[in-house]
Symmetry: C2
Subunit: 707 residues, 2 copies
């Protein structure tokens, strides 16, 4: 039928995105790689980054093998379908690949960006942005590819009913989330350990400038930008993107009459395709003049994002209109609600974290009275900044629920899910504006180390500073969509449990058949789950922050050792042992990432077995609510401290070297794990716990202590 | 009937507590007030403290008048019973009185404690502890008095049915909570503004020791201990104590068959009476030798608490056995669960905040690498410390629910509520061990200012250091019981709404009659409420922390001004203007306390009107969960920073004046608003929002946009 023909758009869109990414990759590679020194540094960074990913994938592979076997056993026991273990693997594989390709491009582009910046600011922007766009398009391209493959196999080769198709696709979301969490946490620990370690000894103790080639941790620091902010973020947003789509289609059956099932499953997929095209078109709007002003550059990126957002807003109307029919045009309102909420959250993030506005200024104002007031100021800005995003998401929830559902419960939930898809439909380009930041950051480092003329560093700094804002915006998108997706997953969870219970209530010893009507907020199991769920993000952040602390400490000792033992290092006569620091960060990150990541998988299962299936639902609700708030708070506090420091470095309150600056540096150091390790991992934590709950629902039902 | 005769125990217990408090007050007053200088200082502190409370009560009185009128109008509109406005007033009045009496005793005892400490450590301990015991007994005495008066009037004078009696008593909980929130927030802002202000200029800038009479803010600092840690805490725990009792009796009707109603209402009241007697007996066990070791002193206080806990554990068995009958002996298990959970949380708090254990040591270990690592370390300790308390409370919830209810929903909820009563039944003595801390703190300050021999300061320091631990424990109790009480209040809320809906569903335009069956966790209104609720504590903490920052800043400027303008101040030739600093703190606290306090009252009403009654239930769930976790995190992080600093001051990592010490001081300063302003206010915030929701439930039902 027509819709099945329409499905062909999805693989087509996927390949189009990947080919355009390839084209951009080639154009980036064609750029001049710069002089020998620059190439040498860039190579060193690439080697370190690849070495890290190799090690990480080895460790993660082990985890995937174990999970794969567990899922096989569960499939054998009839707890999950036989497709689940394999779907789980592919999800992890593609999520990892997204990060890998993005990182390979970034490590190729850094020296080329520095080199292009010698010509002009715009040239530098183009190279950095194009490499970012490669990442953005690879993520959406691979996401659609994975979806296409499974959809084709399940529906057209194995002729499975649609609900089996969607529930299976939901399971590679779990694979993607697992990989994303490892990548985010591991990469986040690496990059911040290197960053903090390099600064504490280099800047503070020895007193050499940032990115000084004499600093043994300088390469590790630049490697960190790639493995954390590029590879980690790529896996993260791949997971968000795919997760929102599969969560939506998983709700399609319950939401619509059978004749509309296929249409309801297609809508998120086709909207994603439109997002791809809109993003590609948007990239052509990103141009800049020679004025190295934040405003000008930001406007350049904004043009790209807004133009694609508008295109999506227009075309998705027709998608909904012609698939679900005019009767369900409310679904389009839901899409707009998500799209709008995403843009608003992005702008708010900028308001709270950019030094051009009051909140971050207030943090800088506190600097003259010392580090304590800076910390208190940043924390309260972060806490304050949770208010409006929560309100916006809540409005988006209510609007999309009532617009799409018109009072119908299941259809309303579908509306909430599709809102998340709408929010992420611009991912191709938003991710481009986000992933280009670390490239510019690296370029700056290379310019410094290769002793390029000052105006080059100025230009790369201008690009980098902007990168901070766009990175914060990207985090806003990730967490905002996570809240909506998580809600959809909670719905998918209860729906699945209901389905099972309806069939097997008796044999499982449950005295009710419909969970969604007994998921009472005053039920003690739900309350217990709620409390544990609210605590989980705090526990997770505690673990990741300690991990950064420990890893950073080992770097501090190593850097001190090298300055002590390598004669002539300070004079620049001898070379530091860069590889050693990279290796220490790698080992540290690998060791430290295991416990936090596993906790996300173990928590819902443990709670379910001890306090019953209702407690799991409570846990998901609690973790989503407190995780969302905590993530926004940490991301914005961190961004605010970072930019407050930069604001002072621009010469305010005595500028660099003043006591106010020292105080601001303390804030920035505290903010590093906030905004680049703990905070951005929370959105994955939320979704992974939900995914795990869905997959293990039947297992928990069968073995829970409290029925 | 028998139970009505049994009720006579309540006023009797109340008066007994009050008379014993009076007796202790007299014994304290009989002590030598010390030399002229000491009396002069003590008088200055008392004058400042009274001046503050006068000002505060004026401001709060205005709020109470307004609320009284609003409630009168609501009563006229038939939204609440006519008793509600008056119950609201008395709750506030008694809550305020608890703080006032406690503070008058504390300000009398401070100089006397210093003086007694000249004789012996034990003498000092006795005076300080007795004054604390006055506070503890006044709180429980007034609580039972308020309950007795209303119970007598409603049941025996106006012959109201029991459900009217309990629902009315629930409403003076709201009055108590409002007063408590103002007292906690106002007092917390005052004490930390003075503390931070005095330290930042005195210690850091000018370099004079703590409590140096030349510091213009030194009196304000000592006043702060009294208005914040004594008056504020008194009002706070009065609210917790009364709240847990009225919440339990409000659930009695639904939980039991009519013949047991009176019994179910009596149980929490009589248990409170037993708690009074047990506490009084416990006070006699508090003695100490001459060894100024923390362990010895702590053991002395422990003896008191544990002995009364054991007495309660024994006698409450008979209470339950003979009121509710052997069939409901499970209620006794619930009491034990609460009692045990309270003790465990207390011990855990000590583990995480005392420098004798690993967590706080780890914070101190981070000091040599600077303030940033201290902050990160303290935050992660605080976050980590939320895990076990949550688990303990969850276990207590499940045990008390299933033990008391045996599967019956309403009776299980009653069990959860009675667990909170069990946890707080030792309040008389736990509060004594808690309130004595600030007295010892003041005594130390007076010893310093009056230049008493060093061994006096050593003894008061020993008492004070212990005070930090007991204070942390007290906060653990307050927040632990708050979680349980809040759950009971949520149940009371839904129950009330159900009752109303059952009657008026049609006319109110609701398409369902039983909320407890539609409070579905996947309902968008509930989810929206959950998100807003989870955000509320963060917003609240942001406001209170900023308030402390602003107030502290104005003190900093004033102290600097006095050092600049008053000639001969540094040389000790001229006297600083103490009153001016007290006045600035007072005005600052009064101005700043309004917004946070009001937000707790406005939030549930606003959310209810915009997103419906279900969103209110969600909000209460979200606020309870995230508020509980955040409160534990802030209290323990703050305590850990404080003791890490003290640990370094004992000579570790270079001791006083070292860079490590400077770093630890930053942590301590950040921790001040954490543990003494924002954190301890959260438990009141949670309960006040619940109380407000109960009182305004009908109003919200009638006027909500989303039905």
């Amino acid at each position: 039928m027509l819709l099945d023909k329409l499905f062909l758009l999805v693989p087509f869109g996927s390949l189009f995105a990947l080919f355009f990414a390839l084209y951009l990759f080639v154009t980036v590679s064609r750029q001049e790689p710069g002089n020998a020194r620059m190439q040498e540094i860039s190579a060193a960074i690439r080697v370190g980054a690849v070495a890290y990913l190799k090690r990480q994938y080895k460790g993660v592979a082990l985890f995937f093998v174990v999970m794969f076997i567990i899922l096989l056993l569960m499939a054998a026991a009839g707890n999950v379908s036989i497709y689940v273990p394999f779907a789980f693997l592919t999800g992890g594989l593609f999520s990892g690949l997204s990060g890998f390709f993005g990182m390979m491009t970034a490590t190729k582009a850094n020296a080329r960006t520095a080199n292009a910046a010698m010509k002009s600011l715009n040239a530098g922007l183009r190279v950095a942005f194009n490499s970012g766009a490669v990442m953005g398009l690879v993520v959406v391209g691979l996401g659609l590819l994975d979806l296409s493959i499974w959809f084709t196999l399940l529906r057209y080769v194995w002729h499975q009913p649609l609900d089996v198709v969607t529930s299976t696709m939901l399971n590679f979301g779990m694979g993607a989330s697992s990989m994303a969490l490892f990548a985010r946490v591991g990469g986040g620990i690496f990059t911040k350990a290197a960053d903090v370690g390099a600064d504490l000894v280099g800047k503070v103790e020895v007193g050499i400038p940032e990115d000084d080639p004499r600093n043994p941790a300088v390469i590790a620091d630049n490697v960190g930008d790639n493995v954390g902010d590029v590879a980690g973020m790529g896996a993260d947003l791949y997971e968000s993107y795919v997760g929102s789509i599969v969560a939506t289609s998983a709700l399609a059956m319950a939401a619509f009459p059978q004749r509309l099932w296929m249409a309801a499953v297609m809508v998120p997929l086709i909207m994603a395709v439109i997002g791809v095209l809109a993003s590609i078109i948007g990239t052509f709007f990103v141009r800049s003049g020679e004025k190295a002003e934040q405003k000008v550059l930001l406007a350049a990126l904004r043009r790209g994002i807004f133009s694609s957002a508008i295109l999506i807003a227009i075309f998705s109307y027709f998608v909904v209109r012609f698939t679900l029919g005019p009767a369900n045009i409310g679904v389009y309102i839901a899409v707009l609600a998500g799209l709008g909420a995403g843009v608003l959250i992005g702008l708010l993030t900028e308001y709270y974290t950019s030094s051009t506005y009051k909140p971050t200024r207030s943090v800088a104002d506190a600097a003259p009275t010392g580090p304590a007031t800076v910390i208190i100021g940043g924390l309260s800005v972060g806490m304050l900044s949770t208010f409006l995003p929560v309100v916006i998401v809540c409005v988006a929830i209510l609007v999309s629920y009532f617009a799409a559902g018109g009072g119908d419960f299941a259809r309303g939930l579908y509306g909430i899910a599709i809102a998340a898809v709408g929010m992420l439909s611009t991912l191709g380009i938003t991710l481009a504006t986000d992933a280009y930041g670390p490239v510019a950051d690296n370029a700056g480092g290379i310019a410094e180390m290769a002793e390029l003329p000052d105006h080059v560093r100025e230009r790369t700094d201008a690009l980098d500073a902007l990168g901070n804002t766009t990175a914060a915006t990207g985090k806003g998108f990730a967490i905002g969509s996570a809240a909506l997706t998580a809600l959809a997953l909670i719905a998918a969870f209860t729906e699945k449990v209901d389905g099972v219970l309806a069939k097997q209530a008796v044999e499982l010893g449950y005295n009710y058949t419909n969970l969604t009507h007994t998921l009472n907020l005053t039920d003690p199991s739900v309350l217990v789950g709620l409390l544990v769920g609210a605590m989980l993000p705090f526990l997770f952040c505690s673990m990741t922050m300690r991990a950064v602390g420990r890893a950073a400490q080992s770097i501090v000792f190593e850097v001190r050792r090298q300055f002590r033992e390598i004669v002539g290092l300070m004079e620049g006569k001898a070379k530091p042992d860069y590889a050693r620091c990279v290796d220490i960060c790698t080992r540290g990150a690998q060791k430290e990432m295991v416990l936090p990541a596993l906790s996300a998988i173990i928590a819902p299962i443990a709670v379910g077995l001890l306090a019953g299936i209702k407690a799991v639902a409570g846990l998901l609700g609690g973790a989503t609510a407190s995780g969302f708030v905590l993530a926004v708070m940490m991301a914005n506090a961190g961004g605010s401290w970072d930019n407050a420091k930069k604001y002072i470095e621009e010469g305010n309150y005595g500028g660099k070297g003043s006591d106010a600056h020292k105080a601001a540096v303390v804030g920035d150091t505290v903010g590093d794990p906030f905004k680049d390790t703990s905070g951005p991992s929370l959105n994955i934590l939320i979704k992974l716990t939900s995914m795990v709950s869905v997959v293990f629902a039947v297992f928990i039902l069968k073995n829970a202590l409290i029925k």
